[in-house]
Amino acid sequence: MTDVGYLGAAAEPAPPGRREDEPPSAGPGGAHRRRGKPRSLSRDAWRDLRGNPIFVVSAMVIFILVLMAAFPGWFTAKSPTFCDLNLSRGGPSSEAWFGYDVQGCDVYARTIYGARASILVGVFTTLSVVLIGGLVGMIAGFYGGWVDSTLSRITEIFFGIPLLLGGIVVLLSFPSGADASEWQTIGKVVLTLGVLGWTSLARIMRSTVIQVKHADYVMAARGLGGSAIRILRQHVLPNAVAPVIVYATIVLGVFIVIEATLSYLGIGLQPPVISWGVAINQATEFARQSPHMLLFPGIFLSVTVLAFIMLGDAVRDALDPKLR
């Protein structure tokens, strides 16, 4: 008996031919009854998220950061590249809220402008990881057999390569020339991390797809004569995507940190590209004498990563049907 206590009410006809009178109240939280508006799982999830303070706060933080990345000029009038050596390592003042770095550049301006590179790397890397890993995992999980064996072995090989170490090796082997543009450098980092970092996502996608493909509704679609494409598109993918979304939001923060680490080590993004990692790199030497140079980019980095992780947590809870 799997029919757990039904929390809805409707009148069903006794003699055939007569219809229901009353639409059933829409699931838990049935206080809201918007006539005619369909209540999908995504809508329910969105409702939950809107009320979750963790989600709201982290979403706002991320929104501000995105604005910062897109329109840095809104946040500061100063230029990040205008540097006056006389002001080197100056502390925070009313002129420069975060002080000056070792070259006399305004730390606040550099932090704001640095958001762009960090966030771009994070977003694009995540996108490529989702695409590569998602595709591999879906095909492996859906087709099974030798396709699965082959793809899984490939996944395991890549899985064995540590992301950071692998990234270091690759980027060291293909160093950027001094005249490389910002986009080229960012692109290289994205590509490296993307190619090395898709494996966890592939495994998540694969196991979810394997679960979903055995569901009765997939069998029903096969029984109707649905093609593999249709089944993947209509049935498997929408139901397998939730854990992937959760993982993606969390790993976005991780990629930003990795980029910062690589830049700190001097092999990711490099000057003149501005990023938090670069700023932290330049600031460590003087960490004790002029902590403000390290502190502010560091705080921004931590807050960003925390925001993405909190977002991922909230999204995971909202999409988890067992928690409803």
Binding site: D3, G8, P23, P38, L41, Y217, A220, G226, Q234, N239
Partner: protein
């Protein structure tokens, strides 16, 4: 319940279906270590307008049989003839045509519908896959018609499955199965997961639809009372084989196979006045594993009549002397003390 005139035309002819699942061991190189003999030589015929009940306990192979009949699995050997063709050998357009005519209703109302599709899309999907059945503009109307036919409100076409109760979801599954106007519907435990007070609603619906659309049902279940109510003929399965088949009166009032007799004696009757009026047969132990079935008759390890002949020779499903329907037992004999007679 079919119409009163006895149905003659055979719509589905199942011949010697066998499905063995290989058991493998090993991680990189898988060794074949044995087989799960889920279905092991099942044959029967389904007539037009009739309901054939297939009853059996867990491990008997009835779910595998359902998937085989839908060609969701392909058999190790055997045929299923529909409209003169073996459904496992057709492809392309003939396969699509076959799929339109044999549909299925599943057991679990909570996993048989895609939670991310609206009810209208779920019931409309058959039309998307088979556009020749209904022109695009007509689809919405047909879906609403189907909702009405199964007793749901056609205005709920945009709702999602989780907004419905278990019984209502089962109706949606039935509407989906009905969309292409199939000739045969395979019902795989359609009411087992529903509350008692809702089971009758769905069973009445299935019977009404059968009469209205001239459907033939293969009704698979483990609940003997439910199977008896809806079936014209019943086949009893044990460990991958059919052990007895006959009309509902023959099986339920004059069972001849020991397993059927044990099964019937175990079914509780909702009437305290029949206490003590039936002989109780308690089978010893557990059913053997389908990966390692006994030689000869598979029921012999739990059967009180078993002899050395039973270990040697597999009993065929034929009409045995002194009985009026097919039974796979060397010592088949009618036994009426295990059932209640009114």
């Amino acid at each position: 319940m079919a119409a009163s005139s006895p149905p003659d035309e055979v719509v589905l002819d199942v011949q010697d279906l066998v499905k063995h699942f290989p058991l493998t061991s090993g991680v990189v190189f898988k060794r074949h270590v044995g087989e799960v003999q889920a279905v092991d030589g099942v044959s029967f015929q389904l007539h037009r307008g009739e309901t054939l009940g297939i009853v059996g306990e867990s491990g008997c192979g009835k779910s595998t049989l359902a998937k085989l009949l839908m060609r969701l699995e392909t058999p190790t050997s055997g045929k299923t003839i529909f409209k003169g063709q073996d459904i496992y050998t057709v492809s392309g357009r003939a396969l699509r045509a076959m799929r339109r005519n044999i549909q299925i209703v599943f057991q679990d109302p909570y996993s048989s519908l895609n939670p991310r599709m609206t009810v209208g899309d779920i019931i409309g999907e058959p039309f998307d896959i088979h556009p020749d059945v209904a022109p695009r503009g007509d689809r919405r109307r047909r879906v609403q018609e189907l909702l009405d036919v199964v007793g749901l409100n056609p205005e709920h076409i945009n709702r999602y499955p989780h907004q419905f109760s278990g019984g209502q979801r089962q109706r949606i599954g039935i509407a989906r199965g009905l969309a292409l106007r199939p000739e045969i519907i395979i019902c795989d435990e359609p009411v087992s997961a529903l509350d008692v007070s809702v089971q009758a609603q769905v069973m009445n619906l299935l019977e009404k639809l059968q009469n209205e659309y001239g459907l033939s049902y293969i009704f698979i279940a483990h609940d003997l009372s439910v199977v008896r109510h809806i079936s014209d003929r019943v086949a009893v399965m044990y460990l991958g084989k059919i052990v007895e088949v006959g009309s509902d009166v023959q099986i339920y009032e004059r069972p001849t196979h020991p397993y059927t007799q044990a099964l019937l004696s175990a079914v509780p009757v909702p009437d305290p006045s029949v206490r003590g009026r039936r002989q109780q047969i308690i089978l010893a132990g557990d059913p053997p594993s389908p990966a390692n079935p006994p030689s000869g008759c598979r029921f012999r390890t739990r059967c009180w009549k078993a002899t050395e002949l039973c270990a040697r020779e597999v009993p065929a499903l034929v009409v045995r002397p002194g009985t009026d329907h097919e039974s796979a037992c060397h010592y088949a004999a009618i036994r009426e003390d295990v059932v209640v007679h009114h």
